[in-house]
């Protein structure tokens, strides 16, 4: 065998010598061609249909973009805002008519409190208005540090962090922790700024039915099974539950004790948005945790804005330092935005002072809330949506006309009727196309401590009349 093979080799070499030159050249070229084909890049589809410059110019010439914005009809219901002249406080002048305010979230009436105003004024005289910089670059004022410390103390947490815009608070906080690949369990009724935070986080979002703990548990269980299937992945996926303390869209409370139980059972972190309940619920106004007697440390993060009960501007997050401190470098709305004007921080500090000095104010507010809730019952054609404790209720139509536009028109007619009779109400406004679960059209009724017994009766009476007249 061995000699046979040798013979073949010798023959091959001989054949090589004997072959004509043109043959060798041809074969050489063919071999090179094969090598080229082997090593050349696989061609792209685009290259194959390469367009000539002229064709490109034609395409560019032909392309017609859509207009930047679609036209808005002149009589769009939300194009013509109601105009307020004078201070937006208890007595408010809307479209030239003096009314009693049942529309602004000024729950504790601190908006036109003299002490708050004077504190803001003296702060203005010391610091001016603007901060001219973000917190990192000389935009941190001593009053910011004071306010953060005061808020932390008020809420009985380790640390608080303030934002210069209420809307940006939870919307920045969520993406600071939850990243791509993480999972967030959210109540369907969550407000718009939570929705924006979810979107910015690019995490998986799982919605559970509003306040339905069974549905939440079902989702958590599903995830648990998923985790068992893939334990390595499960070790790095962070999970969060995001809920509101008192839902702005439905005016009801979250079942916090059950949520805390689920949190520990399934090892999920719990974020709580308290813009509606901070300074409202609980004996000292600490919100829904105090209301339910839940330990503050069981909640990983609480956020609220300072634009409702505190009647200033901005928002804050509070919790353990381990959690909150992370936002100082990762909260986008904190790092990249100018800080809160110091006079607004001072106003918030004074408002906190007032809340701490007189906790009786929360009792008064809670009584008023119950009173309004009761007074509005039995309005023909309208149903009251919300807890008796909620300071911002919704009035919805009992029988919808079947079209959202017509429903809104009817409700707007009731608002107008009331405005004529010196009761300032407003429709709850939503971005119809952007809301994940669009709430039903409603009139917002806001309770404040400044509303007297008579005023509440008068407002309820007025709404009743309007309903009878307009809804027939």
């Amino acid at each position: 065998m061995a000699s046979g093979q040798q013979w073949v080799l010798v023959e091959m070499v001989q054949a090589f010598y004997e072959a004509p030159a043109y043959h060798l050249i041809l074969e050489g070229i063919l071999i090179l061609w094969i090598i080229r084909l082997l090593f050349s890049k696989t061609y792209k589809l685009q290259e194959r249909s390469d367009l000539t410059e002229k064709e490109k110019e034609e395409l560019i010439e032909e392309w017609q973009p859509e207009p930047l914005v679609p036209p808005v009809s002149k009589d769009h219901p939300s194009l013509n805002y109601d105009v307020v002249t004078g201070p937006p406080s208890h007595k408010i002048i809307v479209n030239g008519k003096e009314c009693i305010n049942f529309a602004s979230f000024n729950f504790l009436g601190l908006l036109d409190n003299e002490r708050v105003k004077l504190k803001a004024l003296s702060s203005l005289k010391k610091y001016g208005v603007g901060t001219c910089g973000p917190r990192g670059f000389y935009g941190t004022f001593d009053v910011h540090l004071e306010l953060e410390e005061r808020l932390a103390r008020f809420m009985r947490t380790e640390e608080a962090i303030i934002y210069s815009y209420g809307f940006a608070t939870i919307a920045s906080a969520i993406p600071a922790y939850s990243k791509r690949g993480d999972i967030i369990f959210v109540d369907e009724a969550a407000c718009f700024s939570i929705q924006k935070g979810l979107q910015a986080s690019r995490s998986f979002v799982k919605y559970f039915k509003h306040n339905d703990m069974e549905d939440l548990e079902r989702l958590l269980k599903e995830q648990e099974i998923e985790d068992q299937r893939n334990p390595r992945k499960a070790k790095v996926i962070r999970r969060f539950i995001v809920v509101e303390g008192l839902y702005i869209n439905t005016a009801d409370l979250c079942p916090l004790p059950e949520l805390v139980k689920l949190k520990y059972r399934y090892k999920v972190r719990l974020f709580l948005e308290e813009s509606m309940s901070f300074g409202v619920l609980g004996e000292h106004g600490r919100g829904v945790t105090e209301h339910f007697g839940v330990n503050m440390d069981d909640i990983d993060l609480i956020s609220a804005n300072m634009e409702n009960a505190l009647a200033s501007i901005g928002g804050f997050c509070c919790g353990r330092s381990f959690v909150i401190d992370h936002q100082r470098l990762s909260g986008q709305g904190y790092c990249f935005s100018a800080s809160l004007p110091p006079m607004l921080a001072s106003a918030a500090i004074e408002a906190l002072d007032i809340m701490e000095e007189d906790p009786g104010i929360f009792r008064v507010l809670q009584d008023k809330c119950k009173h309004v809730h009761e007074a509005l019952q039995g309005t023909p054609g309208l149903k009251v949506v919300g807890e008796p404790l909620a300071p911002a209720l919704h009035l919805q139509l009992e029988n919808s006309t079947g079209s959202r536009t017509n429903d809104l028109k009817l409700l707007r007619a009731i608002v107008n009727y009331s405005l004529e009779r010196h009761i300032a109400l407003t429709l709850a406004r939503y971005l119809d196309k952007e809301e994940r679960f669009l709430p039903l059209p409603s009139i917002r009724v806001v309770v404040t401590v400044e509303q007297t017994q008579e005023e509440i009766e008068k407002a309820a009476q007025c709404i009743r009349e309007a309903a009878v007249k307009i809804l027939k």
Binding site: P65, V72, V83, N101, F105, Y127, G130, A338, L344
Partner: protein, 558 residues
């Protein structure tokens, strides 16, 4: 768009050395007439005829040795970081990091280990250069709350003392309207007493005051546009309105150095985002052409619309957008232009009208004029100006108008008063002279720094003046040495800048007097010698008779 003849246009100062640097940024060589070396100057994207004024922008290349040393610096820091982490792990070194609660130890960790490596081992060493609390007006000078740390910056203690009269080179107080006296403060004070500070409702519900509407009319007339709308936060103006303008099937072309708010807004919109090189018109044009020719990926459907996002002045680079060229491109390719004037409004242009006025352009050519009130107006918030149909659409569709509390009224008053002052509507020339003063201060400060041999980035007319430090150790050292000498500066490093391009940033204000600037410059020079920061190899000889443009300082002030 290319123009080959270099000196066809006599006043074509827009020398644009299109030479991609190591980090992908375009480095533009600064030059003057007497130093002009033909072989170094490329006029490829000159478009000189589009500019009504000289456009001088420079980004001197990082010296090779400095780059090498900087990388070594980071290398050493990283090695020591691992070493200290190891020691913390074994409890040899005390660990100051806040810990997870015992009850939640078995949860999935909230932070990945490596996530905070940089914060723990690099940022923490020089943390004292940031978040310095102040306790006065952030004007030309300010008072700092003194703090000290006994545990290498893990915690701070306030000593109770105040560092008085520190020269402020950090705040964005371009026109000096951060004041606690004068017309603005008085007006804001009156409003505070009458209206209070809060509004407690949204624009669409019960928070639309006549003062808000007045402000919007004033902003529209200031910008020279049909209509305008104001918002409570500058950051949110971008992040909450871009989603209203673009959506699925739209393309957003964004400058690589755009602010986080623009990036977030673009991301929230759900559009496709493509990034072009900083202020590089060839890169933008290529993206525009490709986008229109190829359409959407895979389906090749034509894009619904293309939106270009740019800023007027880039706050970390000190560069000014090449707006005339952007507008020419936008018109040629039928794209829409969103211009963020956060730093340029008030600070550029003979009447403070921003980058559009600076180049003598028509505001109608910019589809969306966005800006903030935080900087030049000494207030807070942002605005969007443009055609009436745009603003009407935003009034009905902006997230802010529907879900966010309206602007605080004292803040509104501050803006109205300062804006009227800038426009000369208050019957004085204060506004006018401040604008002039800012322009003079800027040119003077930049020229002096360059003469001292520092590497200064950006446009000659930009009041944002980045000065290169490069090495990580010099970030902290510069901040501390300057503060020791009573000057407050901003220093920035990674991730706000490319890793080797750490820098100090000075923001010039109209409130700075000549004496303050001279004092600051002397100190910068002193510290510069101490830390060896005078890197520039393009030594500029101080010359008194060099022709400058109309905003040159008088010779005797030299």
């Amino acid at each position: 768009m290319t123009e080959s003849a270099g000196n066809k246009n006599e006043d074509c100062h827009a020398a644009n050395g299109v030479k991609p640097g190591k980090n992908g940024m375009v480095k533009n060589h600064h030059h003057h007439h007497q130093y002009q070396k033909q072989e170094k100057v490329y006029h490829a994207a000159c478009n000189g005829e589009l500019y009504s004024r000289p456009f001088i922008e420079s980004f001197e290349e990082t010296p090779m040795l400095v780059a090498v040393l900087t990388y070594m610096g980071y290398g050493i820091l990283t090695i020591f970081g691992y070493l200290r982490d190891f020691m913390r792990e074994w409890k040899i070194e005390k660990c100051h990091i806040a810990r997870e609660r015992e009850e939640q130890k078995d949860f999935v960790p909230l932070y990945q280990d490596f996530e905070n490596f940089y914060t723990r081992n690099l940022y923490m060493r020089i943390r004292d250069s940031w978040n310095r609390p102040i306790c006065s007006v952030p004007g030309a000078t300010f008072d700092l709350v003194e703090r000290s740390s006994n545990d290498y910056n893990w915690t701070f203690e306030y000593t109770g003392r105040v560092v008085k009269d520190v020269i402020n080179l950090g705040s964005y107080n371009y026109l000096g309207f951060a004041e606690n006296t004068g017309a603005c403060a008085t007006a804001a004070g009156e409003v505070t007493v009458k209206f209070g500070v809060g509004v407690a409702s949204t624009r669409q519900e019960m928070g639309n005051l006549d003062r808000h509407e007045e402000l919007e009319k004033l902003v529209a007339s200031f910008l020279g546009v049909e209509s305008a709308m104001a918002f409570g936060m500058g950051f949110a103006t971008n992040s909450m309105n871009i989603p209203a303008l673009a959506g699925k099937g739209c393309l957003i072309l964004s400058d690589e150095l755009n602010h986080a708010s623009l990036v977030l807004g673009a991301r929230l919109s759900g559009s496709t985002i493509r990034v072009f090189k900083h202020n590089n018109m060839q890169s933008l044009e290529k993206l525009l052409r490709d986008a229109i020719v190829h359409g959407q990926p895979r389906t090749h459907r034509p894009w619904k619309k293309i939106l270009i996002l740019v800023e007027g002045i880039y706050s970390m680079e000190g560069s000014i957008i090449r707006l005339p060229e952007v507008i020419a491109l936008k018109k040629k390719y039928k794209a829409y232009l969103y211009l963020d004037e956060a730093h340029s409004i008030g600070a550029l242009g003979p009447n403070g009208g921003g980058v559009v006025e600076y180049f003598g352009l028509d505001p109608k050519d910019v589809d969306v004029m966005m800006g903030t009130f935080t900087k030049s107006f000494g207030a807070a918030g942002g605005y969007i100006g443009g055609r009436k149909d745009l603003i009407d659409y935003l009034r009905t569709h902006s997230h802010s108008a529907i879900y966010a509390t309206s602007m605080s009224l004292p803040v509104v008053e501050q803006i109205i008063t300062s804006m009227k002052c800038i426009m000369g509507k208050d019957g004085t020339t204060i506004g006018r002279s401040r604008i002039q003063r800012l322009a003079e201060n800027t040119v003077y400060f930049r020229r002096r720094l360059r003469e001292m041999g520092f590497i200064i980035y950006g446009n000659n007319d930009s009041p944002v003046v980045p000065m290169m430090l490069y090495m990580p150790a010099k970030i902290g050292a510069f901040g501390r040495e300057m503060l020791k000498r009573n000057i407050g500066v901003v220093v920035v490093g990674f991730p706000a800048t490319p890793i080797i391009e750490s820098r100090a940033r000075f923001c010039i204000s109209a409130a700075h007097t000549k004496e303050m600037l001279d004092r600051a410059l002397d100190v910068i020079s002193e510290v510069g010698d101490l830390l060896q920061l005078k890197y520039s190899r393009h030594k500029v000889i101080p010359s008194l008779d060099r022709p400058f443009d109309e905003t040159t300082y008088e010779e005797n002030e030299e």
